[in-house]
Symmetry: C2
Subunit: 337 residues, 2 copies
Amino acid sequence: MSDKILLSHGSGGLMSDRLIREMFLTYFDNNYLSELSDSALLPADMQKISFTTDSYVVDPVFFPGGNIGKLAVCGTVNDLAVSGATPKYISAGFILEEGLPMKDLEKIVKSMAEEAKKAGVKVVTGDTKIVNKGKADKIFINTAGVGFLSEKYAHISAGENIRSGDKIIVNGAIGDHGVAVMSAREELKISNQVYSDCASLNHLIKKVLEKCEGVKFMRDLTRGGLASVLAEIVEYRNFGIRFSETAVPVSEKVQALCEMLGFDPLYLANEGKIVMIVSSEEAESILEEMKKDPLGKESSIIGEIKNTNQGKVVMETEIGGSRIVDKITGEQLPRIC
Amino acid sequence: MSDKILLSHGSGGLMSDRLIREMFLTYFDNNYLSELSDSALLPADMQKISFTTDSYVVDPVFFPGGNIGKLAVCGTVNDLAVSGATPKYISAGFILEEGLPMKDLEKIVKSMAEEAKKAGVKVVTGDTKIVNKGKADKIFINTAGVGFLSEKYAHISAGENIRSGDKIIVNGAIGDHGVAVMSAREELKISNQVYSDCASLNHLIKKVLEKCEGVKFMRDLTRGGLASVLAEIVEYRNFGIRFSETAVPVSEKVQALCEMLGFDPLYLANEGKIVMIVSSEEAESILEEMKKDPLGKESSIIGEIKNTNQGKVVMETEIGGSRIVDKITGEQLPRIC
């Protein structure tokens, strides 16, 4: 392992992976953490608790479609929701740089409160630390979340029922968050506005879980994008994934900007997108259910689980070829969330 | 409210208080948060959950008697324990500055793991973000914690049974953490080493709760020190506190350094100290129980709850006078935890 922390350790890709396995898993060795899911499933007396944490360091703090506060709520709500849990309680830990305009903080806190209300969660505990000017960058927010999980959905988090033939659904166009944040950075002024997809997906997920029994696994697509999440799903497993490039929804604007700037939408961050792995029998009815929700109306079946290419993700390209898709390796866009 | 974030907003004193009440409570308005205790008590099906969060930004990262990692575990364990809960699960959110030496991170993570083991909690979920060099100061850690709370102790967190005549116990000498961190700062090289009192107090607390029924309230003494915590306890309440300066344990070293540097030990941060408010009938037996534990062997009854001076803390001084003790107002020592 490198002897210094590098930006790529934060990419959500291979370097992050090594840091987590070789450092954190080595020391904090326990069954809950070693699942490496975004929330820990914890036994309570009568039902399971889902517990998750995320720190947000997005730069800039305000971007088209959201800000660090909205992001901090959506992100943690989504981490809980994809575990199959009902998100209930959120903590908010603020690290503020001396000199941060109070009206900026207020805007941020206000949108956290609005998003929490929308998602149906409560911010129940918090902490604030201030550091001298120049020792942090405006504002960093940590949100931890607690959700309750019915036994019925306890298998979803580990994805233990995934089988060959299962379908993979994405709930809409990818890459919007990455492009929105990029465009908000001064060095990349872009006129053709793209808005972050930043949204809490717990209500959408709940509707699907209540109507259909075929959901086997869910994961939100944040740092590292769709490609990294798919690669993580097959890692150390006895199945592979095959998906079609053309089936993956990408907006025209995002596609055009990616071509111009040399980014691959598959690796761009999202904050309101999930993949679901579902039984082939229920795939169509789940897709229909998702399309009824404003946050899922562009949902698409993009591929399926295969017995072949174990541990690998294969993409059928637009021009009829196929290639292996791996996790993000370097740091495509630091501080995207 | 000031239009900019000031260092004193992080003091744990009056300015922090205004920020919390006028900003966070205003927006995140709910019954759990408005208790303003260090952990939120959340209804679960069968028992209550205690949920807390704290970010750690201590400077320097390593100090005599501990480091930011040990602190991050002890602090959150103590926040849960003083609510009457049994600490169970911890999350760890890291914000790392590009260039942080990996061996420093390892030392920190290792001592988190050691402290977690000692305290009997598990680090079950985590997150790592990296920011560019100069955009954070080495390492910031957020730990959130979940504990389980028996109905039997549900009254402790709000302190609703506190009555005139109840005794106030502190579990040992105050100010060590503040002085240890201060001495580790380059500008204040002090030869006469003082070690941080940084420790998880959950086992000590558990022993007392199991043996005695008279514990009515507990609070750990962190930022703002003993004075700020006592002032907070009486705030908006129909009782006051009277305590004796000479009864408050302070080590000779800390006393001497405070006199030299112009600090008041009452306002110095601690990371292994609590106040307990206990019934007068059980005060002596609780004191005895505490003294049996290595982390409580210098425990002392420092004062009591009074019907007089409602909302005020009165200290009987060493020379026989008395004065009002208020919360910390400015920023005595920024980034002390």
